[in-house]
C-alpha cells in the first residue's frame, strides 16, 4: 500500500493504492492521525488505485472517521473500483460515507 497526499484549496487528497489488508491498514490510520494532528480536517480519500481491502482496512477507515468527526472534520471518498466497491457495499459503508465517482466530483463536496 502506498499513500500520496496532495493539497487542494478545500481539502487534502489522499490517494491510496495497492492493498489495504491486516498488514498495511494500520499505516493508513497512522497517516491520517498524523495529518489530523497537523491541523488537517477535510480529507478526500481517492481509492481508484486501491485493489484490495479487508475488514482491517475498513476498521482503520472507521477509526479515522470517528477521530475526524470529533474534530468536526470531514472524510469523503472517490473512485472505488471492483472488489473495493463491493466490500464497501457489503459492509454498509455506502450508507455512512459520501462516495463520489471521481476525485473532481469529490472535491466539490467541500
Amino acid at each position: 500500500m502506498t499513500i500520496s497526499t496532495k493539497k487542494e484549496p478545500n481539502a487534502l487528497v489522499l490517494t491510496v493504492s495497492g492493498r489495504m489488508d491486516a498488514v498495511t491498514a494500520p499505516e493508513f490510520e497512522k497517516s491520517v492521525s498524523e495529518l489530523i494532528a497537523q491541523g488537517e480536517k477535510n480529507f478526500l480519500i481517492d481509492l481508484s488505485a486501491l485493489e484490495y481491502i479487508s475488514s482491517a482496512g475498513l476498521r482503520s477507515i472507521l477509526a479515522s472517521a470517528k477521530r475526524l468527526k470529533e474534530q468536526n472534520g470531514k472524510l469523503v471518498f472517490s473512485g472505488l473500483q471492483g472488489h473495493v466497491k463491493e466490500v464497501f457495499s457489503i459492509s454498509g459503508f455506502h450508507g455512512i460515507f459520501k462516495i463520489h465517482d471521481t476525485e473532481a466530483e469529490g472535491l466539490k463536496d467541500f
Binding site: V23, Y52, S54, S55, R59, A63, G92, I96
Partner: protein, 140 residues
C-alpha cells in the same frame, strides 16, 4: 478430492502473505481464478481472527489445506487455539452512523457474504473452519 494446496505455518500476522499465496496459487491452478478476490478476503478474515484470538501470547501454528472437486474449491483452516466458532457471531448492525458504529465485527460477516458455504467443527484440541467457493456461481 485431490489436494491442491497445503501449508503449516506459525499463526502470526507475518504469515498472511505466504498463506494467501499458497491458497490463491492452488485456486488458480484448479481453474478458480474468477473467485480469487473472494477467497483472499474470506481467508484473510478467517486467519487474522485466529492470529488475534486463538492463542493469546502463544501463537502456535495454523494449517491450511485446499481441495477442489466437482466445481467446488474448499479451504480448510485448522488451528490449535481455544474453541471458537466464528460462524456463530451475530451479524453487525449496518445501519448505525459513524459515531455509533462499533469498530470491528465485520470480518465474520464478510466471510459469510463472499463464500458459498462456511462450516465450523471442533475436533479434540483443534478448531476447523471450512470455506467453500463454487466455480461458476458467484454470490454477487
Amino acid at each position: 478430492m485431490s489436494s491442491t494446496g497445503h501449508i503449516k505455518i506459525p499463526a502470526v500476522l507475518e504469515s498472511l502473505p505466504v498463506i494467501t499465496e499458497c491458497v490463491t496459487g492452488a485456486a488458480a491452478a484448479a481453474g478458480f481464478s474468477a473467485r480469487i478476490g473472494d477467497m483472499e478476503l474470506a481467508l484473510e478474515e478467517a486467519v487474522t481472527n485466529v492470529f488475534k484470538y486463538a492463542n493469546p501470547g502463544n501463537p502456535g501454528e495454523i494449517e491450511i489445506d485446499c481441495a477442489s472437486a466437482e466445481g467446488k474449491f474448499s479451504v480448510e483452516i485448522r488451528d490449535s487455539g481455544r474453541e471458537f466458532d466464528i460462524t456463530k457471531l451475530p451479524d453487525p448492525d449496518l445501519s448505525m452512523d459513524i459515531s455509533e458504529r462499533p469498530i470491528g465485527g465485520l470480518g465474520a460477516y464478510l466471510i459469510k457474504k463472499v463464500t458459498d458455504g462456511v462450516s465450523y467443527r471442533r475436533l479434540p484440541g483443534f478448531n476447523v473452519l471450512t470455506l467453500v467457493f463454487n466455480l461458476g456461481n458467484t454470490k454477487h
